[in-house]
Amino acid sequence: MHHILTKFSNHEGTPQDIALLERLCDMVKYTSLCGLGQSSPNAVVSTLRFFRDEYEARMLEMEGAR
């Protein structure tokens, strides 16, 4: 997760990364044994819900590259 977030902060994210991030958060949240594991993805889930436009702004500019 940290690795993917770093990609976004370096403007290297892709739409697949957002999908993977969502999958990872969902899996960690629902299969964890302890409360720490169940709640720690919430930080990322919240940013995805409220600041999704920022993720999208920090994606790799595919159109520009072509």
Partner: protein
Amino acid sequence: MTKTFKIDGIDVSAADDQTILQVARERGIFIPTLCYLEGLSFVGACRLCVVEIDGNPNPVSACATFPQEGMEVRTNTERLQGYRRLILEMLFAEGNHVCAVCVVNGHCELQWLANKLGMNYNSLENFNPAKKVDASHYRFAIDHNRCILCTRCVRVCDEIERAHIWDVMGRGVNSKVITELNQPWGESLNCTSCGKCINVCPTGALFKKSKAVAEMEKDTQFLRYFSNLWEVEK
């Protein structure tokens, strides 16, 4: 007292000391596991055996949950398949699992399970961590690159052999199994060299020396009451 409940719509009954996983195994219902081994205590570490229970938003691990009267358990929904797949991918990404050069290639539970669950590629990037190999023991060696931290070796050494030379050290991706107080295995005075840890290891992390690629076969018959999923399925 016997409890009755449902697994995938099939009526089953369980004794007081039976977990959901044990009942499912008895009835031939497939639930993938890596850390669970019959005859040892359960830890619920690998999370592959997660099952859904009606009325409970969070899936629970079947190996560590005792059934309740009237429970309805589902073992193979699309959601669970997704979770299991991602858990497996994370296991592969976190270590250096290179089957082609592994001593247990073809006899590996992790490899078999990935095959069985249809994991044909890994959507996660490999960590490629720099992990060590300890070959100081005169008969056995441990390759931390292939360790998935199921703690089977820890439990078998503690509960069956009663030597307890294995333990887990560190946190998160930095955790690893250690012998004694993180001393080289060969210097351990308490290790009885019984080889139980070698044979319960689901991957090629623990292996006998002088075995080449794909030559190491686990002898799971040396402890008769152990039965792992792989053996049952075969």
